[in-house]
């Protein structure tokens, strides 16, 4: 049995500037699904530029001026979502016009 799930995290706008990459594939130990709190350590480890700018240091929460879209469909509450193998998390600046 495979005990890892694979996720893709895409970065847009200022989150891409902070990440210095447009996307990252990550592998998280799990036999079913993972929570945002399970991902942040890996994200910050691989992309330290996110710390403080996109992901709050300490709490691991997404900075309030960003939002997450799941698989190009709906925006989600990252704290209440269980991410499954193959999911794409799209991190974007909160939308406000233009």
């Amino acid at each position: 049995m495979d005990d890892h799930i694979n996720l893709t995290v895409e970065f847009y706008g200022t989150s891409r500037q902070a990440a210095d990459t447009s996307q990252l594939n990550i592998e998280i130990p799990s036999d079913n699904s993972v929570l945002w709190s399970d991902i942040t350590t890996t994200l910050l480890e691989k992309l330290p530029g996110l710390a403080g700018k996109v992901i709050e240091v300490g709490s691991g929460c997404l900075v309030s001026s960003y939002a997450i879209n799941l698989n190009g469909r709906h925006f989600i509450n990252q704290e209440k979502t269980a991410f499954k193998d193959g999911d794409v998390l799209i991190i974007v600046p909160s939308m406000a016009g233009g």
Binding site: G13, N69, R73, V92, P93, S94, M95, G97, G98
Partner: protein, 604 residues
Amino acid sequence: MYGYNGFVLLVDLKKERCDTISLSQEILRKYIGGTGLAAWLLYQHCPEGIDPYHPDNPLIFCTSPLVGTQLTTSSKFAVATKSPLTGFIGDSMSSSFLATELKATGFDAVVIKGAAEKWKFISVSENGVRFYEGSDLLGLTTSETESHLKSELGEDHRIACIGPAGENLVRFATISNDGGRQAGRTGTGAVMGSKKLKAISFRGSSVVDSAEEEALRVRRKVLSRKSIGKATEKYRNMGTMANTAVFNRLGSLPSLNFRKGSIKNIDEFSGESIHKQTKVKKAHCANCTIGCEKLVEIPNSDGQRTRLEYQSAFALGPLVGLSDRESMLKDTHFCDEMGIDTISAGVTIAWYLECVEKDLVKDDEIGKRGTKTVSDLLQKIVFRTGVGDKLAEGTAKASESIAKEGRSFAMHVKGLEMPGYEPRALKSMALALAVSTRGACHNRSSAYEHDFSESGNRFEASFDKGAVVADGEDYSAVMDSLIWCKFVRKVFDDFYSESAEVINEITGWNMTADELRKCGERINNLKKLFNIREGWERKDDTLPERILTEPLDNGAQLSGSELGMMIRSYYQARGWTEEGYIPQSKCDELGLHGLSEINWSKVG
């Protein structure tokens, strides 16, 4: 009186005379300023049923109580008139030094009526108006006109002007000010052209006092500090161009005349790529701490720059099927210099190109010109040569005169061309575009916020969207009347309460958050009353046939019955009749009495 001059300048271009009228505290407190006060002035001064090009159609420039306070993002003004694109209310906003200079002339607003016999420019100051011969300005671009008048009158004069497009009555002509900023939508520049008014100069030294200067001093400091926080990071770093790649990823970037919701070569147009690969200079409006403006260097142009916004990039790039950045940047620059709305221009051209592609129109030049196809058509539109003469009338009228078979994919609402928000993938926005009083408008509802949040299902047409859009419209009306820039809104913890405190510090009033919220509702009802007076009917609140009959390439769709359900929910949220009219009881509740010429049989 604090916060206002208390006077409106009335200018008669035909008689070359001016007059002043005073503004009562009651009116100011009800309509505030900006688009709210401008809508009230329009209702009063625009005779019912006139053609938008009739000399009596007023062209209104309106400031607000925030102008002159130096609060961040407060240097903005509204322009209002009866739109030559829609025949309904046309309002548009622009920013920077012109707003503060206008208010320093001792007037809160200027209402221009009549038409000059020969081309004029006028100069507005505390002494009223001076009329000048304007024929020698004809043919000058917007930047040339501004620099010419500044060299003639003085660098401290602030200029609003039209380019060749406004002179030639292109129905989506803009009014330009302060180095290329535009009152862009609904064709205000065409109305200015119809009055043979090439430019207006503002210069004054009047100071408007605020009731609580010390409180405002603290407020300025706090807001400025908050405005450079994370809430505005997107605008400070990348500007509205940050939208392009995200919208594309989410299938909500209208492309190829709304046939697709995304394109493959997004790197050509994305803010991320442009910022990485091109020289970009940041710029600020007067009294703005955010600085969302991005002046992008045009390749192969000896360092020439153009002010680039998402809406221009979308309309003159993916929408018209252009695949290279350089052409898009050049075309954007051309539109700003000639004084035309990039959105309306792009939508009109996208429609025409599809007509040619489908053999509804024969045009041998299309296809031979490659990347120059769009720039050639823009040139023809501005100077009304060849097919450009008909395209200059806008998508709605062009589809009637060029190819009626193409009406189903003429992408406009009420005559105003669609902005870069794909309605089938953004259902709150779909409703907002359908019911907006100024046509397909992206700036008067903030409805996209709901679509781009976890609280809204952007693919679902649901009954709750009516209240979302009505609330968003009222909120936006307050912003556009005070006037705050939309990009500062996330800086507030409690928008209505904090804004009420601000207006009280300026005016000395005791306005509450609820009273301010009511102002927003009143202003939106007033705009609707104007439209009803000018012939609005239920059928006008809709979306283009393509949106309601063709699924998007990513599967997103919206049926006519779904839209109808959402429109009913909106009317219900507004307290209007099922047919979208305003009951007299609602007018009474909002204090919308005392308006001249309300015909109650037309209202509800």
